[in-house]
Structure formats: C-alpha cells, structure tokens
C-alpha cells in the first residue's frame, strides 16, 4: 500500500518531483512551506505514511461497504441480499433510504382521487350527511397551468393516501403502528381541507367517511387496446371525529 513499495517509474515523474524524491533521503524533508500538492509521499516520515495508509485502507473499506449496501438495497431480491438484508436495512435506514424505481417497471396508469363526505349536526340538532366532495380536484386545480406547483398540492394528499394504502392489508385492516398513524393522517388531511377549502365548521362534524375513486387512463388513440376507463370506488369505514383529529388543524 505504501508508495515506496511500488517500483518507481522514472518516466512518470517530472524533474521537480524527482528532485523531491532525492530530498526525501535527507531528514526534515517536509517543512512549513511544503505544499501538499507537490509533496512526495516518500518524503514523509514512516508514521505519517502509516497514517495515510490506514486512512486509504479505511476509506476504501468504507466506500466498498457503503456502495455495496446501497446497491443491494436497490437491487431486486437476490442471494446475497436475502442473506444480509437485516444488516443492509440497519445501515440504510433511515437516512440512506432511497427508491429509484421512477415510473418503473411500469408507470402508474390510473388516476386515484380521494373523496370525503361528512355527517354534520345541523343547528336544529338533526344529522345531515353531505355529498361526496372530491379533495383531489383541488390539488389538480393547484397544479394545472402552474409553472411551479407546490408540494402541498402534489404530494401532501397523494402521498398521504399512498401511505394509508401501503399500511393496510387487503381487507383494509391497519398494519401495526404505521397503519394507525396513516389512518389518523388521512382523516386529518380530509378534515383540514373540509375546513380550509370547503368552509366547513369542524365543530359540527360528527363523522367523516373517505373513499378512493380510481379510473384508468385511456390507452392512446393510436393503440388498439380496450381499456375499461370507468371509475371504481372503494369506501373505508366511517371515522368518528375526536379531539385528537382536530388538534392543531381546527381554527
């Protein structure tokens, strides 16, 4: 690893460096005016070279480990990954987490909108259920024809709903703590939007219900593909509004 172990090739050096190589033979070769860019490693003392060697070795090892972990984290499931996944996960999460399957293997081909309806108490004490309100439509309004759309329109509800979807099993039951947090999250988003964008007084809201409205993007007109583009709805259970849901968002 140390440079003096390798055969010096005179052709590789210019005169200045060769002169410095000679200087290395004398003691105190590195003085206060020596600039790193021109220093010859051979001019350094043994402890100095040892430190550099250790640094090179440690950095090479860490680089290899880091990139191997990143590679295996983003790779498909394979022999090495399966055997070491706990270790890789432990290293990658939370700060080196990454996902580069950008529109892959296939791009998303369906629009998913989130709708909400609320059961509200009327002034006379009776209960009324509102019509379904399309929350996603507001997002689309705030994105369309905007040069710089905000993450609050692009990602807040969309990714919140993805989170909810991913944290529930096929029967719609929450999976662990993530599942419960995701339920709270999407309902809080819905309540906040009912208040901010649909002028609803949250004190009157007893319960809310969410549903997703999914429709496939029609195939391009130059393709002969029959695609069912009708909208499918998936309702989740009514959600009783508590003070927890309103904390921080109710005016």
């Amino acid at each position: 690893m140390l440079p003096h172990d390798t055969a010096p090739e005179d052709g590789e050096r210019d005169e200045g460096q060769r002169a410095e190589g000679k200087r290395a033979l004398t003691a105190h070769a590195v003085d206060a005016v020596t600039v790193t860019e021109t220093v010859s490693l051979r001019a350094l003392s043994l402890p100095a070279r040892a430190i550099i060697a250790v640094a090179v070795g440690a950095l090479a090892a860490f680089f290899t480990w880091h990139m191997a972990a990143v590679f295996l984290f983003v790779s498909p499931s394979n022999t090495v990954r399966e055997e070491n996944f706990d270790r890789i996960r432990g290293y990658i999460y939370p700060e080196f987490e990454q996902n580069w399957k950008l529109f892959a293997p296939n791009p998303l081909q369906r629009d998913e909108a989130v709708h909400v309806r609320a059961q509200v108490t009327e002034p006379d004490g009776s209960l009324r259920t509102t019509d379904w309100i399309n929350l996603t439509a507001t997002d689309i309004d705030n994105i369309r024809h905007h040069l710089l759309p905000s993450h609050s329109a692009q990602n807040l509800l969309r990714r919140g709903w993805d989170f909810y979807d991913g944290a529930h099993d096929d029967e719609g039951r929450p999976i662990g703590e993530r599942g419960r947090l995701s339920e709270l999250y999407v309902h809080r988003i819905a309540l906040q939007r009912l208040q901010d964008e649909h002028d609803m007084d949250l004190d009157t809201v007893r319960r809310v219900q969410l549903r997703s409205a999914v429709s496939r993007v029609p195939a391009p007109e130059w393709r002969e593909e029959e695609i069912d583009t009708s909208t499918y709805y998936d309702e989740i259970d009514w959600w009783v509004v508590t003070s927890d849901d309103l904390e921080g968002i109710a005016r």
């Binding site: 220093v39 939370p94 609050s152 709270l184």
Partner: protein
C-alpha cells in the same frame, strides 16, 4: 488457427509458413505487473495530493444550494402546513413515527412555533452560505442538518427530488466543495498569509456552533450515538485543523491535508457512484416493464392528473405514437447506458446533454421543477472542467458588465484568480 487451409494448398496459413518460423507474439501480459504498480502509485499520488474535481464539486454544491433555497422560499407560504404546526402530520404523530425510524430532525425537539421558524430560516441561511461558499465546511454541515430536519419532520411530503437532496446534502459535508467559486476561495486568495489567530469570524463561528452542539448533547436532544459521534467529531476536526495550522505547519499539516483530500475524493466517488446507481436502477427496472417495452410508457405519466400540468402540450405530444415511443425507448437507453458511457468522455458528454435536456422537459411538462433541478445538480458532477471554466468565465464577465453600470466602488480591486484555478493536469482532460 494453425490448421492449414484445406481449399488451396498454396496459401500458407499464418504462423505455419515453412522454413521461417514467425517470432512468437509477445505476451500481452508482459510488464503488466510493473505498469500496474506504476498506475497504483500514480493513482495514490492523485488522490492524496489533491482534492479532485474542484469545479465539479463546486457546481454540485451550488446546484443543490440553489435547489433547496428555491424550494424553501417557494414553499415559504406553505411552510406551516407542510412542516409546521398546521401540518396534518402533527408533531405527536411525527414524534411517534421518528421514535421508530430514528430519523434525525431538529424540528421534533420542540413544538414551539418560534423554534420552527428558527430552524426553517436557518436552513435558508445555510443554503445561502453554501451557495456563496461562505465558511463552506460549516455551511454544508448546517445545510445537511437543515435539510434532514425539514424533510424528516414530514417524510410523506417528499418525492424523488427530495430523496436526492437528502443523500447529497450528507455526501457534500465530506467534500472540499469550496475550493473554487466561493467566498472562502476569494478570501484565501486575497490574504494568503492570514494567520489562524486573525480569523476572528471563523473562531467565533466555531465557538457558537460548539455551544449549540454542547447544549444539544447535554439536554439529550441528540441522543443517537452515531449522530453525537458525527456532529461532535466534525466539530473537533475543525478545532484540530485550526491548531494544526497554528502550531504544526510542517508534516502534521501536510498529513492532515492529505487525509482530508482522501476523504474528499472518497466522497466524490460516492457521489458519482450514487448517480450511477440512480440511473442504473431507474433504467434496468424500466426494461422489465411492459409499457416501456411496447413504447407507450411516457404517454401515461404525461396524462395522469397529478402530472399533467399543460394538457395542451401533453395532448400534442401524445398524438404521435412515434414521438412517444422514441421518448420511451430513448429514456431507457440513456439511463441504462449512462454508467457505461462514463468510460468514454465523448459518449458521457452526449448523454449528459440528453439527460439534462430530459430533466428540463420533465420540469416544465410534469411540474417537477425542484426534482429536475436536483437531478441536474447531481448530473453536474460529470461535467467537463473545460465547460465549467468557460461557464465560470461567462458568469464573471456578466457580473463585470452588470457592475460596470454602477459607479465603481473606490477600492474594490477585481478578485485575483484563486490559486486553485490552476486546474490540475488530470482535470484539463475533462
């Protein structure tokens, strides 16, 4: 090879001519050991003596600083909704989540509104400092802390662009990305013989950050051992650097400089490798998708409600099956080819142009300006030095022209070219 031709007895097969045996071809492996050793020594010389890619790391620094600065200013009116006290992802929920994930964020230390404003605006300030290259090392550190704080406060707010910013903000901390195009470089060039003791601002900054760090550690705000070690370690290294410059300017200083170069070069390599991982992953997974195979893939995101920003343009593009197919196949080819194109300078530069062009298209068409800006900032690590120098000269010229209009300040000599502008031999090749 040595079987004589059966058809014409006259034509002697190569190497089988009678009478005069051809000299044995020299082994292609001859001298391999020696040249390998020489290459190793040369390589070691490069990575120890210099922090490579001064212009490339500078442009990456500037690129990400601009991206984050633009993002935070653009979202400034929505900051409470996205990361603050109005967030549907409440402080308590985020705290519960972070307890499991262990993600690092200052914004969950306190739910006070004042604290939120402080962190958000300090992140903006850090981005400005990093952009200008003012106390670059400290600025990159604060930039990373700010980026992680904001993003990890509301992790369901981000997309691929935020992901790139998150990673690069951490990698940049380990680079010497202020060698050129920075206030630091200008200061060093103006006063090359500045004594460490005279650098009052540096000392004050170090002291303030030290107090802040100590407070964070003592109050248990930073409770993960790895973050304590990293933040404390970086702070100590800065103190050590000052001491070395002041008291041990000879060999200890040179060795420390070499180790810092090594860390920089390793981090630069990580950044480059990360770019390759990103494009390779994006490309290879696409190959497996039926829509990328049948050449319609690009049509779909363009026509999704969330990404269809200019329906008129999308409709125009979508009307031609050939255009959509060319874009779809082109995207996959460019992404898959990118890591291999690095082996050839010309191929790399062509692909860089294509990539950046595609990202500009995505920015406009799909409404993802900050995602695209982050990707372009990341790609910039592979830009040729000659191009960066030309761009730098253009920028300087533009500034000179703009400032000439105003009455010239009495004593403001043009900044002398920083010492680092002498580009190293390897970089000249681009």
């Amino acid at each position: 090879m040595s079987i004589p031709s059966q058809r014409t007895g006259n034509a002697p097969a190569p190497g089988a001519s009678p009478g005069a045996p051809a000299p044995a071809p020299s082994s292609p492996f001859r001298g391999l050991g020696r040249s390998f050793d020489a290459a190793l020594a040369r390589g070691l010389g490069h990575v120890t003596r210099r922090a490579l890619g001064p212009y490339q790391t500078a442009i990456v620094r500037i690129g990400f600083a601009v991206t984050v600065l633009g993002f935070l200013l653009h979202e400034w009116p929505n900051r409470h909704l996205m990361y603050g006290q109005d967030s549907a992802w409440s402080f308590d929920m985020a705290s519960r989540f972070a307890e499991n994930s262990g993600a690092f964020t200052l914004l969950l230390w306190s739910d006070s509104g004042l604290w939120f404003e402080l962190v958000y605006h300090l992140t903006i300030a850090a981005a400005v400092a990093m952009l200008l290259g003012w106390r670059t090392r400290a600025a990159t550190m604060l930039f990373m802390i700010g980026v992680l704080s904001v993003q990890n406060r509301s992790i369901f707010m981000g997309d691929g662009g935020d992901n790139v910013i998150h990673l690069m903000s951490m990698y940049l901390v380990l680079t010497r990305c202020g060698q050129v195009w920075s206030l630091d470089a200008r200061r060093r060039a103006r006063r090359p013989d500045l004594e460490p003791t005279e650098d009052r601002v540096g000392i004050a900054l170090w002291a303030v950050l030290g107090v802040a760090l100590l407070a964070a550690l003592v109050t248990g705000s930073v409770d993960s051992w790895i973050w304590s070690l990293f933040l404390g370690g970086m702070w100590l290294v800065h103190g050590y650097w000052w001491l070395i410059r002041r008291y041990a300017p000879g060999e200890p200083r040179v060795v420390s400089d070499i180790v810092a170069n090594l860390v920089h070069n390793a981090a630069l390599l990580v950044i480059m490798a990360e770019v390759c991982v990103i494009y390779a992953t994006a490309g290879w997974y696409k190959i497996q998708g039926s829509r990328w195979q049948d050449g319609t893939a690009v049509y779909y995101p363009m026509n999704l409600d969330y990404f269809n920003v200019w329906p008129e343009v999308s409709e125009l593009l979508s009307s031609s099956g050939m255009v959509i197919m060319a874009l779809s196949y082109g995207t996959v080819i460019v992404q898959v080819a990118f890591p291999f194109a690095l082996l050839n300078r010309r191929a790399k530069n062509i692909l860089l142009v294509l990539m950046m062009g595609e990202h500009i298209g995505i920015a406009l068409l799909m409404g993802l300006p900050f995602f695209s800006l982050a990707m372009i900032a990341m790609d910039a690590v592979f830009l040729p030095t000659a191009f960066l120098l030309w761009m730098g000269a253009r920028a300087t010229g533009l500034r000179a022209r703009l400032t000439r209009r105003r009455p010239a300040p009495p004593e403001a000599p043009p900044a002398p070219a920083p010492a680092e502008q002498r580009s190293p031999a390897w970089a000249a090749k681009g």
